[in-house]
Amino acid sequence: MVVSRRIVLTGPGIAWIMALLVIPCALLLVNSLFERGIYGGIDYVFTVENYVRAIDPLYGEIFWNSGRVAGITTLISLALGYPAAYCIALMPKRRQMAFLILVMLPLWSNYLIRTYAWMVLLNGEGLINRSLIGLGLIEAPLPLLYNDFAIIVGLTYAYVPFMILALFSSISKLAPELREASTDLGASPLMTFWRVTFPLTLPGIAAGCVFVFVLSIGNFVTPDLLGGGKRTMIGNLIYDQFLTARDWPFGSAIAAIVIFIMMALLTLQAVLVNRRGRDETTA
């Protein structure tokens, strides 16, 4: 392609990313190196205190817990999403579109409303508890809301569609002949899945997992509403620093650390995809 045409075609995209991603992240890094003014705002006094404060074990624990909740969400999404995506991929092409639309349908309604709906379902006087008590299965209401359980349910529900779509795109690319060949060579369906299908869909799994993990770890709405404000995740921490404590430098430092971790994860995923690609071409 002629160089000038390449510039014209990629120009807008690059300008968009620069203006809305690169420059704001750079501003974030710059902000994190200054002090907070007494009433909020920034005192332009250089300091690394924000980063020193951020590696305090208290915040380390928040990072860890956020990662844990996001990790559990990712695993459950994978467990739920893989069979669904596999099923849809094996359907005749005409029906696939209908089912994919069904998967996407919840995303058409407002995220906040769906979260509140979960609050109605899960609370002590809510639908689930009342049904269970009405059926005589339990006597006292179960604590389903304002804890980690509710947060994981909320996050899984919100992000499973992304997992299904990422997995679907990978599974649907598998040549059915590979499965047939494996069966012809004597492998049981389980073996076929574990030795042939699963490894070949690893890029899709990696993509789906990264989607769900990154979206879950940064989410602050669900932990605040479904967790009752009692489980602080990294998203809540950053939100609090910017909006309540008005300590922009410290919030920026935490955000910068989170961005760094996410970039590391994405790099890992890219390496995995590349390695898969290399193996496929050499095989």
Partner: protein
Amino acid sequence: MMRKTLGLGVCAILATLSSAAFAEGKIVISNWDGYMPKELLENFTKETGIAAEMTVHATNEEIMGKVVASGGKGYDVLFVSGQFGEALHKLGLAAELDHGNMPNLANLYPEAMKLSHDEGLKYSVPYAWGTTGLCYRSDVVTTAPSSWNDLLKPADALKGKTTMLATDRWLMMPALLALGYSINTVKEDEIAAAKAQLIETKKTLLTYDDTTFYQKLVSGEASMVEAWDGWCNYGIAENAQIKYVIPKEGSDMWVDTMVVTSASENKAAAEAFINYVLKPDVHRWVAENILYKVPNKAAMDALDPKLIEQYPNLALSPAELLKFEQLRDLGEGQKLWSKTVTEITSAN
């Protein structure tokens, strides 16, 4: 063609000029949602001819963030709690008020003119005031609570059925009062002691809730909550079994005030608005509508006695109210508070 373009150009210029003229004298007010009767602005415009527009803020911190960032441009009147009005004044963002433009200040209680955060009301005018206490279902909690420790160290039957306020000043308050400390303290050891208690209390909490705690009482999800007196009245309105009590260790006195921004271009109009709110019938209407005490003697004297019977905390006299410590700006100490609250909400 040229004439058409010229004609269109002139029309456009006239349109912008006339809209600018229209905008002159218009004031922008920022308040909490539902903290003012809906028709108040309409009535104000009808009476004075000054156009008024309202925007909402969910928390003091939100409007502080906006105003500190923009220098107050775009706002004329702000409804903020007293300690934030104090902060705005220290930052030079609150305008000095001309009492000559606000004759209705005479309707205020004498105590309201001498509030410690702004003696003589140089830059803020109180709009509503009250206390923070325990709001509970008297049919579920059969022994009336008498101490903040009833919330901080709840009985087994109450565990998992209590909520606390999430905003830092009121999150820390119950522990500070229970331990006998000032609610405006910035002493590290006192704050650390309160923090330790609050981390223990968090384990027994249902949730932190600033806005729907009274609904939780009505629905039965919670049995006892930390509440502002006015909000508790919203619960009482729906369930007469709900009662409000100020624990024996005391409460705070919070004041929500009206402040004129120093960046305002219509200070006279803004002061006219404040003067309008201070009219006895208007301020009484405010009290009846939002179920809060107002510092307006003429308004409170005219309050319907039946209302006071239904909502007993409206009867608290200014003398009794002023026995409690008023919430003040913490200055440099705010950083320690923010850090402590983060540590409490992050703790396991």
